[in-house]
Symmetry: C2
Subunit: 577 residues, 2 copies
């Protein structure tokens, strides 16, 4: 049976050789401290998180009369996770965190999400809620909630979705009415669905961030405000008070992430649910999405993480399994699958870490924000969809064993699929990319990114003439496709624009992933001569192979995608089904 | 919640307008009898099979001290299925069957497999075993086993796989030793894994067809013989005797088809397991695979069937679900997904029914066998892979609901994935296609098929000029790719051939599916003027749209696949991982 393995070498190559994250001097990190944190965290992942992966998938969560119960061993895991300071990793110093470069904290997130995607949702959602409280909350909110969240006593959630308001969040029905008796407090009433970590016995209190409409809130997204709603009320001294009329009335049985409690949450069944307004009234949507880029990148990382661990386990399997008197990795069709899996999963890693690193750059120079705006929907959508595809390839490489629960492989596919759906479906990411990030600024950010890409491709030596050829064809195809979409937008034929967003997102995703692998190949090529060992040389060669395989097996698809976009000059909503 | 629906109109269009199955006069079927059987069977599927789909996925099968237990309601379902004569449908008259045109029985199989893929495995495997006994068995075998199988008292299985012999079946370790005391009988000893329907309380006896090596059997596939091994011995009067030392020692927990018992089967733990040689000694592989084309087509149909039902349910959902003040089918990105799902699932239906119909043609003229040889691995591999993709799209169209078990949508993806793995992995199908079906006859069958395709494309009117353009580009791409592969084969660079088989299979699959949709579009176009109603006209128009969408969204990919094949002029097994 395959054992846990992460590709430390490739992660460090990205962090140090490609991204040079030690240049962010504000963190005071040198190469050895990057290696140490990554190595220590990986040990924690291997010894504490990964062993819970399969068993918590089988056990799942349960709704009982006492609320939602998680697997018992999660409590021990959580205790260690907080005590060893891993929750604090990447949090700002002023709330007791340990700041690290963004790309490093993203690399760590990837390791933990890979090792147990379901469990990782509990601290993950808590971090999201914490960030909103830290950035928007007043002193009362900060003083009351941040410390117990940082020390792992309390957890957090984000409560957006309702049965009739999924993608269309602005259409929600939950209400908030001001309480005469309590300044700043409102009576909350409504039902939310699909609330990840909505309730669990992993934390003593669950602090919900709830979107609701106040009496003067207009219909639609602009009439919505954001409230902090604890499961148990909090006394003035910080101790837990009585129940706040918040109840989990159901949990979803799902395809995957069985260990994550996906809850139906009832607020105010007995009109006793109190919420505290956070931020200004009517600013709810803006404040809820304050960390949207981070949240969407993190979902892309979930896909990337599942792909990379699925690849590592599959690699071991095909190296051990014999058929036809040979290890099956020597069979050309299996080798094809495994090389494609590696190219894609490492490509997604390159892209997500690159994007995370831009967050640090943007702290110093705002110009990076427009590139982040382009890359985040790509990371989220392409990372989740292709992460899923790699997970499916992992099943295929395992033959019948891949289909059996016992091997833990099919779980990757089941766990990954959710990433295409939540935090804005991938369809919404594609529309965001094309309409808000490209058409709105008349392609300025896209042109800037294209120039960066073009610069990298000019560095390639003649050894890569085929790849350079595919690359320029792909860029030309992208230009043609964008030209078509731009023309339709100008003509007001918005349906034709919208029906092509997903294909354009995939087209451009292939280009940016190939670009990140290209830069890696170029750096590897440069480093080859000074390689210290055969192992290092072999690794550097693998980076060149990744780029070649990506070009021949994936990047070529961008040309077909451009054809799809430009070929159907019709509004397809007119077709009947 | 969506309700069961099959697309009778499209199935009948294929059977009657495209394939004209009434021309097989030996069956004595006219249009009304085709419609009647399909309609009656569909009622049975809707009322009896489909209601068991989701609950049997949740309940699954259990291994108890008394053996494997299936959901209780399967017994009632089975009783009706056999009593109403549906098991006999498509079986030859001499064993009490009701022969129907092959394409009609395949259409019926598709309906039942769609409605409960797990359950359909029990009669499905039984049919496979029955065919082998009917075609290879001697009088003893026929007289003993066929009647109780036909009336549903006994079930059948195919026992090939062992832990160390999956794709490499010829490497198996199960042994058979002749019994001095009993003419024709052998002592069987060994363990088989992944045996679908290996044991269950659905039948009073399980009749296993077991591959085993006799003492004089050489290593490898040529030393293997086939045995009939009943779970309970059969007395001379046909009544059940004592246990035959056959035991299910474990069942697999799987990603999907939970209702199908996937068994580890122990034969002869106490040296008391007796098997009867069927066919000649050493002819085991040949005899086991006597119905291989049928079996592989049927697996492709599983993929096709899941895709079509997933499409029908998803269509209903997106027509009902509102977001942003409209039914979401009106959102261009959702419309894109739904049109792609329809084009692909109907395209797979066209292809599988066309192939089934060739079986009837081949009964009269052997020349069709070479085309069947080409199309069967395509149906199996492309049908299962693309069926899975459509099922995944169904999840995406449902948003978060698609991920929840309650809606029954994610089950399609879980149930379909197995079809890419069993009955020869899809990698094996691709190698079969390229090496045994194309290179071996120097491309003769492929040329014949290409001519058929070319003829159809010449019929297209100018309305389809874009599609004709894509089509000729795709054909040219296929030619180029095959030229590359042929050259490598001639040069003895077999690894390069083998690493490209899957991409070539997908390339040619897109072409044949587009070809089947093209012929449908052409026929629909011809029939448009004489359409009897608006509904018929709308349906005929949808066939034209299917073809257009397939060309713009799928067929274009064949051009990229050809690039993949011709671009990497290297033996990738040399790359290290």
């Amino acid at each position: 049976m395959a054992v846990y393995k992460s590709d430390q070498q490739d992660i460090l190559f990205n962090l140090l050789d490609v991204l040079n994250i030690t240049e962010h001097e504000e963190y005071g990190f040198d190469e050895s401290s990057v290696k140490e944190i990554l190595g220590e965290f990986d040990k924690f992942v291997e010894n504490e998180i990964y062993p819970t992966r399969q068993k918590s998938d089988v056990e799942g969560v349960k709704l009982t009369d006492d609320g939602v119960i998680v697997p018992e061993y999660f409590k021990d895991l959580n205790k260690k996770f907080y005590e060893m300071g891993w929750f604090a990793l990447g949090q700002p110093e002023e709330i007791g965190g340990s700041p690290v470069p963004e790309a490093l904290s993203t690399a760590c997130l990837s390791l933990s999400a890979a090792a147990n995607c379901g469990w990782s949702m509990y601290p993950g959602l808590t971090k999201g809620a914490l960030s909103v409280m830290r950035l928007v909350g007043d002193d009362y909110v900060k003083n009351t909630y941040i410390e117990p969240i940082m020390n792992g006593t309390w957890g957090g959630t984000m409560c957006l979705t309702e049965a009739g308001a999924g993608s269309d969040v602005g259409n929600l029905n939950t209400t908030a009415k001001p309480m005469d008796s309590k300044e700043g407090w409102w009576k909350i009433k409504g039902t939310k669905i699909f609330i990840s970590s909505g309730e669990s016995d992993l934390y003593e209190n669950n602090i919900h961030l709830v979107l609701a409409r106040t009496p003067e809130g207009k219909p639609g997204p602009k009439g919505i405000s954001l409230f902090v709603v604890p499961r148990f009320r909090v006394n003035a001294d910080g101790s837990l008070g009585e129940s706040n009329d918040v109840r989990c009335s159901g949990i979803e049985h799902k395809m995957g992430i069985h260990a994550s409690a996906t809850c139906v949450m009832n607020f105010g069944d007995n009109n006793e649910c109190e919420g505290y307004l956070i931020g200004e009234e009517f600013d709810g949507m803006k404040n809820m999405f304050i960390m949207m880029n981070q949240a969407r990148l993190d979902v892309g990382v979930q896909g990337e993480s599942q792909a990379n661990l699925a690849y590592e386990l599959t690699k071991q399997y095909v190296q051990e399994r014999t058929q036809f008197r040979t290890e099956i990795i020597n069979l050309p069709d299996v080798k094809r699958m495994i090389l494609k899996m590696r190219a894609m999963s490492r490509g997604l890693r390159s892209l997500t870490l690159y994007t995370a690193n831009l967050f640090d750059k943007a702290h110093k120079d705002e110009k990076y924000n427009s590139i982040i705006g382009l890359l985040v929907p790509i990371c989220k959508s392409f990372g989740s969809d292709q992460g899923f595809n790699v997970a499916v390839d992992a099943i295929q490489c395992h033959g019948g064993y891949g289909f059996c629960t016992e091997y833990g492989i099919e779980q990757f596919a089941r766990d990954t699929k959710i990433a295409s759906l939540y935090e804005g479906t991938n369809g919404i990411q594609a529309i965001d990319l094309v309409t808000r990030k490209i058409l709105k600024d008349k392609g300025a950010a896209l042109r800037e990114l294209s120039e960066d890409i073009f610069k990298t491709s000019n560095k390639l030596s003649d050894e890569f003439s085929f790849e350079r050829g595919v690359f320029s064809k792909a860029l030309a195809a992208a230009q043609e496709a964008m030209g078509f979409i731009g023309k339709k937008a100008k003509a007001g034929e918005m349906n034709i624009v919208l029906q092509n967003c997903m294909d354009f997102l995939n087209l451009s995703s292939h280009i940016v992933v190939a670009w990140r692998l290209m830069e890696s190949a170029w750096i590897a090529d440069e480093k080859m001569e000074s390689a210290q060992s055969d192992a290092e040389k072999e690794y550097l060669e693998s980076k060149i192979v990744d780029f070649k395989i990506y070009c021949s097996h994936y990047l070529v698809q961008s040309i077909a995608l451009a054809k799809t976009i430009t070929s159907l000059d019709q509004d397809i909503t007119k077709y009947k089904v």
